[in-house]
């Protein structure tokens, strides 16, 4: 049963992504509102994949990617970054820090499901 951590500060986007992720058979969705919240959730629950927005308050997506990749416990968890158009620099930074894939808003739900399934299958 894949456990998917959705890190997004916008309630609309968070709900939308969680809805899409629940369509992956047997999946369990954990929601976090920012990087710090995501790290707390990671310590409490096992996650098989992380979907994270870049622009978030408290701790942004880039810092989260860097901390997850630097951790011996979580470094192997695939990370998909969700960016806005025109944020190429952030996207490149995220990929350089160790993100596995990225997706631009507005998100095509099926594309997101396919990308997450592909990353989970690769493990």
């Amino acid at each position: 049963m894949p456990s998917i951590l959705v890190v997004e500060d916008s309630p609309t986007m968070r709900q939308l992504i969680s809805f899409a992720m629940r369509r992956i058979p047997g999946s369990k969705v954990i929601e976090a509102t920012d990087g710090v919240d995501a790290l707390k959730k990671l310590s409490a629950e096992k996650a098989d994949i992380i979907l994270a927005d870049i622009n978030m308050p408290v701790m942004d997506g880039l810092k989260l990617v860097s901390l997850v990749r630097g951790s011996s416990e979580f470094r192997d968890i695939p990370i998909i970054i969700i960016t806005t158009e025109g944020a190429e620099e952030d996207r490149e930074k995220a990929m350089a820090l160790g993100a596995d894939a990225y997706l631009s808003k507005p998100i095509q739900t099926q594309e997101l499901i396919n990308l997450v399934t592909h990353q989970l299958d690769k493990r």
């Binding site: 916008s10 709900q15 939308l16 158009e85 808003k105």
Partner: protein, 275 residues
């Protein structure tokens, strides 16, 4: 006496010889007949063998035909199943797409009605327009009845001053306000309009048939290739739900304000010394 016996012996010998000759002839006849019979048997055996092979061949031919018929029937069934599978796959894709669209619509309407905080409602409207529709430059405007102009209450990528005070009776926006029907330009989705009065898409914000404002979109994100069904559904949803959410949150603010005023007034009355 021996002489008398001699002719008798000769005669018997002759008789014996005759019998022997007959025996020999009989034996020869038997051998001939035997040979004929063997030949006949051989002939019959060959005929039988040939007849049996022909029957076998007929059997094999029948079997092959039956197998070929079966193969054809299986191929036909396989073709049918394949077509059915393709149909199911197409239906699955459509159902999945419909599910995604419904999820988007649900989330949008749920979020729009999740709060009565005016600022939060505006933030949610902006999020839906940016993240679900994929607009880059747009403005949310409400009608100012006194001034008969549209007033920008939120915008993205375009300054609110640029869209301030657009007349409600002129141009594309004026038509949307008058008719209550959303406008979609014939131009490409990647056209970028610089004129605040000429949006690419203009959605009327309606409460029932009463237009309270518009959402004017001037450009879309580059990776948006065109409008899909869900975009039109979201435009419709925004037309109704965003309008009621904005309207009710404004009413709520006003009622809160009035409630506070009345409460203060009552407090004042209570505190006022009786004459």
């Amino acid at each position: 006496m021996d002489k008398d016996k001699e002719p008798g012996i000769l005669k018997k010998a002759d008789e014996f010889l005759q019998i022997f000759k007959k025996g020999e002839e009989f034996t020869r006849n038997l051998l001939k007949e035997n040979e004929d019979l063997r030949f006949r048997i051989a002939e019959l055996e060959e005929a039988h063998a040939q007849g049996s092979n022909a029957a076998k061949i007929r059997n094999y031919e029948d079997h092959i035909k039956m197998l070929e018929d079966e193969r054809e029937s299986l191929k036909e069934r396989f073709r049918k199943v394949e077509t059915e599978n393709r149909d199911f796959a197409q239906k699955y894709v459509l159902v999945a797409e419909e599910n995604n669209n419904l999820a988007n619509m649900y989330v949008a309407s749920y979020q729009l009605h999740s709060t009565l905080d005016y600022e939060e409602v505006l933030k949610i409207v902006l999020e839906i327009i940016i993240n679900l529709i994929g607009a880059k430059k747009f403005s949310v405007m409400l009608i100012d009845k006194k001034l008969e102009k549209l007033e920008s209450i939120a915008s993205e990528g375009i300054g609110m001053d640029n869209t301030a005070k657009i007349p409600v009776d002129k141009g594309v926006i004026g038509e949307v306000v008058r008719e209550g029907k959303s406008y979609f330009s014939d131009e490409s989705i990647h056209t970028e309009s610089e004129d605040p009065a000429k949006p690419i898409v203009c959605i009327s914000l309606k409460i029932k048939e009463h237009v309270i404002g518009v959402i004017a979109i001037y450009s879309f994100l580059n990776h948006k290739t065109g409008f899909s069904n869900v975009d039109y559904e979201l435009f419709n949803l925004l037309a109704g739900h965003a309008a009621t959410a904005i309207f009710s949150s404004r009413l709520y603010i006003r009622s809160e304000r009035e409630f506070t005023t009345i409460q203060n007034f009552l407090e004042l009355l209570k505190g006022k010394p009786t004459q």
